[in-house]
Symmetry: D2
Subunit: 409 residues, 4 copies
């Protein structure tokens, strides 16, 4: 049995665990050292640090403090890792805790976080998903279940100072183009709720003012929310500081491409069993700027899909120029309309798109002026047949259950 | 043997074939009628109508007349089809002609068409791909071959007048925001090179001035360039006019998600074996705005990939807000840099991304401010191992061959 | 376009084509020579040489002359090939003729050929399968259609004299253990209907008396009837004579593991597009006795199955010792009983098992005294849901159609 | 968290656990009752009850007491289950214990158990396989690792008295044809080492004399050793006694088709998370004699294979009539010869075939006199390239390590 290097207490506060941090900064001290070739286990809390409960009340989603996220376990140092190397990480397995076999999916209020379809679902809603062996189902979304494509939403190495400064500079520049926007254009450093791991005293206070928020994916990987970076895959991370400093969290039992619900995926606490290696000088050898990875040999194999197209004409009929974001939004809205014909509420359909292993493909990006995106909805996750027929759809879902909503205050 | 309803002459001009047209207009007369349940064969020229030759000179790509594209075969009428129905099309098979077993891929000059990476590849280049049974390879791009995911880039039903007007209005509005741009923001109606099929005289002249260009995908489908709408798949098209009026063309032997080279895919002439059916009133029954489709049970199964990430920070380091287009461009550029380490020129790497069955996934669209896109490069298409190793890449490609380039005049 | 080295005339007699032969003998003259690296096309008649017709009368199956089979096209010589080499054959594509888009499946009479379930289906029956693009369906077996896993049932190099003698000796020894058996234990040389290709005169007469029959698979490959040796695959054949002498035939549009109906698969005439190469001394290098091969990257991907188990207790309840043949027969009989609950006749169910891409797995061969075999029936080939439910099966098939039967005379 | 209904102590004797039994008999009392729709966890010891140790000495394999096997956990009763029903079992997950992350593979001595290739490997050998997350590797077989296709080798419902008598009668009849054979033709009831669960006193003594051994698969399923009846799959078991009486054990981390090494697979202790349901009267509704099952949506996806053919001519050159058992043995021997060219010992190659997810297909069973079987060896489990090339194989394995052997005493 591999050693568990970092343990978490789901009943305590993440702030009390000095092997957890919630900002990116080069000076956060490494908490455990391993050798290349070692395999070990890392536990993590859920991304919010336990703010969301397993109940039928979405007010916790509405009132979430997003300045706290994401709580990451680490950094782990790998002996011999130096800037310019590639840190090779095998995800030997990822799972939930036996005494915490559930996860949550939510839509944030447009006033506090928002999401991909926030104009259509502006108020906070929450669904709870039970984990039954390799499968999941929800008391709030009947008629579906599927095998988990379990993965960490967030993992990467510590940036060096130069990269950190670059992140802060470019994000601030964007933020300043519309500083009053809700939701904001970027999440800037915010010292008040920073957890700087084992940094203490004035050093920690100073670092907290400049530590990059964990929200976006960046050159080091970070919050990529790539569903296929799942257990069984192998990832090659750029190293910027001595030892690498690998941190991780934001575990998902399952998620669709795009993590469109933002309080996205089926969010859970859990553990990762990792093995590490090094490619010395790998960044230059392979011309690497962002992580690259290889898919897992073992993951859910849902082959049959209904595929929805979207183009970059928005809900108001306005033409946009090769905008894949808008095209994918249209494909998602098309899928939601389709699912409603079988009896689902819009919120249930939206929750399915955010949690099931749907694929989002960039299908066309050159045919001016319309980008084309496709949303691939697996048919096998439904208890009934959702394929189109000459007879038309049957309302299998009776509408008695919906996703709990908490009105804005 | 199914009947061939539309034949083409690869040695003649597409303008001389009145079962071909190159604009969308509700009044283009249906040239063949079929019954629901029928299967039949339709031949098509390549999208440019034969402007590009099987040689080693890219000047034809540089000088292409894009106002002529795309030459479509049709419209085919289906008896009983009425506005609001869904036309069910089974792609029983799609293929090249036995005497024309080749296709082309090109990068247009930035001055005449451009492409996804036109800032990086601003001049015209062309590669020729031979078709050998189910496989393809190119004398301009050594070291790769793969099985074709053969599909029509463009297929859809005729719009009605209201939809046509909507298309023209919204695209003109976008065009007018920067009318002098090169390449333009939208391709507007252009009568001079219009081919209105069997419309004749003044009717044809008038329709030519308002016929929508075939370049973008739209509500009816059209130029979606979705690689997975391939032979063996089933598509459900919205019907807007009596009989449907199904037209098609722009056959591709293979293409990557995004068709990033624009003169994209491996472009070819060929034939489609189709079977048609109807879902009466299907648009309302299933809430359909754009076509939906089901994947094929038989298509190339390249499972192993190297996956490249890209985020929405552009080449100059500027931060963009959740822009998947830019994120995917970065993923593509990352893949090109990687392939260059094995000896490929940038142009060869770009050609591979445009022609091989690469996947482009919308991986994250909510983690402000960075969108995250992934480019999945199948490893099995290479004659050598392109996986990262501790030793670093080996230059398998000696650089003696490159993709022909024609300088701007 | 690759050259067609061997052409066939479906309206003529295979005996009139001297590029066809129906026995294995080292002295059959090579009819075409190719270079390593060449690709070329070979046409073949169906395995019976046109004895079976596209009609609804099974008397041709009942009266078939099995001493004539299989009519093979070849031998093709590869320059430089010598005994001990491996001949590398890429199946670039395989297909039916455009003017002969159909195939047949039959059960031979127990008195003339028999088959895997001949005790259960002792009389001749025949079903005709239409080829529609990549798919097939039958007017005799309603409710099913699928994509073809097209392959040659029979391909291999000429044996040398020593190998030929070994074949004849060991098969004669088996035959002699029960010489009067019907069907016989082995098909011995039979000069009367032999077609020795370009051999003429006394040489041909002598060779006909010793030429091995083409019925069984042997060390060189031959009549393996392996459904996965399909278009897109690569096979490595042992070479025994100078030039190799590759011959082939017995094309199948589709077949299940085991080819259980014997007049098995969906038998058709057609063509193969091949590419050849050599591994010099490959037999010793890799310790090769029988051919090895690699699967195709493009073949039907039917993933969902109902899996039937069978054990080596026969229909009479008698226990056999680890007999996989009997176990697989029980699994097939179990599947037939299951399909009958949906309205199929036994003959229709048997025809489905012989023609659809069912898998037959050797599941357990050590748990004395029972072997365990499994029959994997793809569910996606049915127009209706054949999964078990609490409600029980619904008779989707009304029984009005059956597989034509010709009574023994 | 589901309840664990049956717990085991890996440090104690299986005989001391009255929720374990090692014979099939209708009167073994049900130890736990569940409702249809319930999910629950069952722990099991390894099939030998801990006789085999995690060390480098094969004497425990040589000296194993096979009369004790298999130790099964159960029987579990399902309320409402009656003879003629189908018991629907979802394998929600299956796994090893965190403190016992290893398994063993062995070849029994020909004098004590034997195996599929016992003539070639007549003495006891043992390899130990470590479980690292979803993957396994062995210190005795270098150069390979793969993801586990975890499954119970043995599961089924209690027989009724009539079925038990039929089993004993037919197996005794076979045994009596050669009573002195080693290994024996069948494993007959043997009271001395019987563990009859909660049966006590004279009842237990009598039942032990007639309880069927657990070695072979039979009508109820039992020791099928079907690798694809894995976690995530759904199985439909015939019910013969009130409550069903479902028992299970013999967990495998991985196994190839055929379980050819007999002390086969990677044998381990562990747990199953099951969910149960009922189809009332399902045996008659669907014509079920043996269990049927549906594959898992999540299992290792090794797609690329080298495929070895075998025909029913034995090692001595003798011709057998359509004997799939012999054909598969030849395919296995061919694969072993091939792997030896890369440096593996024969025993290592044999161990790979027994433990890796190799497929064994019944390819041809009608082409007299040769059956044809194929062995599919996944290439992706090797750390190096095992495909054939013009250069020939490279000895990646240096032969310093081998599978421990214990000579017969």
């Amino acid at each position: 049995m591999a050693d568990t290097l970092i343990k978490v207490d789901l009943n305590g506060s993440a702030y009390d665990n000095d092997k957890i941090h919630n900002r990116w900064h080069p000076d956060i001290p490494i908490v455990e050292w391993v050798e290349p070739g070692d395999d070990f286990i890392i536990e993590t809390v859920d991304w919010t640090g336990g703010q969301i409960k397993n109940d039928d009340d979405a007010s916790d989603v509405r009132d979430v403090d997003l300045s706290q996220v994401h709580f990451l376990s680490g950094p782990v140092g790998v002996k011999g890792a130096e800037p310019g190397d590639l840190l090779v990480v095998d995800f030997l397995d990822v799972g939930a805790f036996p005494d915490s076999l559930w996860g949550f999916n939510g839509f944030f209020s447009k006033k506090n976080g928002g999401g991909f379809l926030t104009e259509h679902f502006p108020e906070a809603q929450k669904s709870i998903w039970d984990i039954k062996g390799m499968f999941t189902q929800s008391r709030h979304v009947p008629g579906v279940s599927w095998a988990g494509l379990i993965h960490p939403g967030l993992i990467g190495c510590l940036p060096d100072k130069k990269m950190l400064d670059m992140w802060n500079t470019r994000e601030k520049a964007l933020f300043d183009t519309d500083p009053g926007r809700t939701p904001p254009l970027a999440a800037l450093p915010y010292a008040e709720t920073a957890h700087m791991g084992r940094m203490k005293g004035d050093d920690a206070k100073k670092a907290a003012t400049e530590g990059a928020r964990t929200v976006p994916p960046r050159e080091h990987g970070g919050n990529c929310d790539i569903k296929d970076l799942s257990r069984g895959s192998r990832c090659y991370f750029p190293v910027y500081v001595k030892g690498g400093g690998l941190s991780m969290g934001d575990l998902h039992f399952s998620q669709g491409d795009g993590e469109i619900t933002f309080c996205g995926a089926i969010e859970m606490a859990g553990w990762l069993h990792l093995k590490v290696g090094l490619i010395k000088g790998g960044m230059a050898k392979y011309g690497i700027k962002n992580p690259i990875f290889k898919p897992s040999p073992i993951k859910p194999d849902y082959k049959d899909h209904i595929i929805f197209e979207g183009i970059s004409v928005d809900e108001g009929g306005k033409q946009h120029y090769l905008d894949v974001h808008i095209a994918y939004r249209q494909a998602c809205l098309n899928a939601i309309e389709y699912l409603k014909k079988f009896g689902y509420s819009g919120a249930q359909a939206y929750a399915i798109l955010g949690t099931a292993p749907v694929q989002g493909h960039i299908s066309g990006v050159v045919d001016i002026p319309n980008a084309c995106a496709t949303l691939w909805l697996p048919t096998e996750i439904f208890d009934f047949d959702i394929n189109p027929t000459a007879e038309g759809p049957k309302k299998f879902i009776d509408g008695k259950i919906d996703v709990p909503l908490a009105k804005d205050l």
